[in-house]
């Protein structure tokens, strides 16, 4: 609260201009930084999609972390640096083991758009890229990025694959901490596993056949 009040006082001139059209203020986010997280869990991997919307009164504070050279534009390097900064404020555990995040994609609107309270920063992180073991899992995500300014939404996306089932979702009251319990049912002989098994069986046969063939050639 103290930080918000301090920020409001610091940006009073801009707010006064803004308040000249009072109802306009209510049309968009004001003193909150909305962090909306969607967790996509599929057999091929787990991704985190985060949409960030800074309100008008907190945009300066957020932009101070992004536009490090204060030139009024957000460069690719600045965008990447901010995405990495936010990544450090996220702690992710899968089955009680800390897992690292990899930045997969990002999209930053212009600085002027962000200052109006309608610009949305979109970040995508990969939690697991590729296959992981079947069975019951628990994914826990804690978001500690700018807690004094932020409000949160945390949701599991409805899995596209029928082999993933979300069995429970839990959050703390403000949704900065979320936990998803899910099961992944991998078929005993999935096509990939079947291919590996078939290759392992076929390999000795091919080797023996090659040896026999080689002997036959030598004899000839």
């Amino acid at each position: 609260v103290v930080e918000i009040v301090t920020s409001l006082v610091r940006h009073l001139p801009r707010l006064l201009v803004f308040l000249a059209f009072a109802p306009a203020v209510f049309a968009h986010r004001l003193d909150e930084y909305l962090q909306a997280t969607l967790v996509a869990i599929e057999p091929e991997g787990i991704r985190l999609e985060i949409n960030l919307t800074p309100g008008v009164a907190v945009a300066d504070k957020v932009l101070a972390l992004i536009d490090s050279d204060r030139d009024g534009t957000i460069s690719t390097n600045e965008a990447t640096a901010y995405a990495e900064l936010l990544k450090r404020d996220l702690s992710v555990q899968l089955d009680q083991h800390t897992v690292g995040l990899k930045l997969a994609a990002f999209n930053f609107p212009s600085e002027s758009e962000l200052r109006t309270g309608v610009g949305i920063i979109q970040l995508e992180y990969s939690i697991i890229a590729g296959s992981y073991p079947g069975g019951a899992h628990r994914l826990t995500i804690a978001d500690r990025h700018l807690p004094a300014l932020s409000v949160y939404l945390f949701n599991a996306a409805l899995p596209k694959s029928a082999s993933v089932q979300i069995t429970a979702q839990k959050r703390n009251e403000n949704q900065s901490l979320g936990e998803i319990e899910f099961t992944l049912n991998r078929p005993a002989n999935s096509p990939k596993e079947f291919g590996i098994i078939a290759s392992l069986i076929a390999l000795p046969v091919v080797v023996v056949a090659a040896m026999v063939n080689s002997k036959s050639v030598k004899k000839a």
Binding site: P23, A27, L30, Y152, L153, N155, A157, L158, P159, Q169
Partner: protein, 349 residues
């Protein structure tokens, strides 16, 4: 043995007879639905053509987009047009006859109560404008209309109408019609106009509280989410996304409560004309036991609370907005069908 065969033959004939009766009886009902849908489709296309005929060439060039224009299809928002630009024709730039023609298109595509809701949302924005020193960002003039494709009773086409707190995406494909995804919202949620008190989203608010108060303690425990909801999860801009449902499942509600749930959903499905609304409601009824109701926030009637209705073919969210004022006076809602956004199942191969 002979008796057994006779019994089997008798049973077969009975089954065939009942099937034939059902088919004949059913044909009557389906024929009626089809005729109603066909008539609606003709009326909407006719109103659309009449509106286009009222325009000059320049205006027509601005209002009609290619049906496959994906950028225009997604160009809708809860925000005022001064913040998020809409394309098409602005109501304030049209003549009275042209504006009436636009409203006639909406009247043909929507139900009477759906049309009334749209008008009341725009009137609320006019009220907002007047109460805010005539801020040019708001008001009845700041709504835009556009068509994707040409009005037709056979080929798919789309009517977009929206501005602040309104994003109608009406896709029509032959006798089919859908409103998903669409946004309704309001600010102020209650106002006086010509001596009458108007609540554009009043029925959905009241029905949601009635459903909540019908739940017993065990049901409430399931329905009420133990965390704050600050906004819509799947609002404008979140096309193609679906979340894991939460709350209380339709199968855990009583028959009466399931009816209340469907009645609540009808406040969104029923915005469309009778034929399209009935088709959608039939679909919802089919899945009602798999449809969830979730609540977040205070439970006292009229308080600022979030709720969600989610089934296999529907997502409805209702979220009071805390953007600097009384959250009960500023409401955002979203209506989606994750299986048929923009009617894609009827035209996308």
């Amino acid at each position: 043995m002979k008796d057994h065969l006779q019994m089997k033959a008798g049973l077969l004939l009975s089954v065939l007879g009942i099937t034939a009766m059902l088919c004949m009886g059913g044909r009557g009902v389906f024929a009626e639905d089809s005729a109603s849908a066909g008539k609606a489709s003709e009326d909407i296309a006719a109103a659309g053509k009449k509106f286009l005929a009222s325009l000059d060439d320049t205006q027509r060039g601005k209002v009609v987009f290619d049906f496959k224009d994906a950028a225009q299809r997604k160009r809708w928002s809860n925000l005022p047009t001064g913040i998020v630009h809409r394309a098409g024709l602005r109501m304030g730039d049209l003549t009275k006859a042209q504006r009436d023609a636009v409203l006639a298109v909406l009247a043909a595509a929507l139900s009477p109560q759906g049309y009334e809701k749209v008008i009341e949302i725009m009137d609320a924005d006019e009220t907002l404008k007047k109460s805010g020193g005539n801020n040019p960002m708001f008001g009845r003039d700041e709504y835009y209309v556009s068509f994707l494709g040409q009005p037709s009773t056979t080929d798919p086409w789309m009517i977009q109408f929206g501005g602040h707190h309104l994003g109608l995406n009406i896709t029509l494909a032959g006798e089919h019609g859908t409103l998903t995804p669409s946004h309704t919202g309001v600010q102020p949620s209650i106002y006086e106009l010509e001596g009458k008190t108007i609540r554009p989203l009043g029925r959905e608010t009241d029905k949601a509280f009635a459903l909540l108060s019908s739940l017993d303690d065990a049901q409430r425990k399931q329905a009420i989410l133990g965390f704050q909801m600050h906004d819509l999860v799947l609002g404008p801009g979140r096309d193609g996304e679906t979340i894991q449902p939460e709350g209380i499942k339709g199968s855990d509600l009583t028959e009466k409560q399931r009816e209340m749930l469907l009645d609540l959903a009808s406040e969104w499905t029923g915005i469309m004309n009778e034929a399209a609304a009935k088709a959608k409601m039939d679909e919802l009824k089919e899945h009602v036991t798999d449809t969830w109701f979730a609540w977040s926030g205070p439970t006292e009637k009229g308080a600022a609370a979030y709720f969600r209705v989610q089934g296999p073919t529907v997502i409805i969210e209702y979220a009071p907005q805390r953007l600097g004022g009384d959250a009960t006076k500023h409401i955002h809602t979203i209506y989606r069908d994750p299986t048929n956004e923009y009617g894609a199942k009827w035209w996308k191969s």
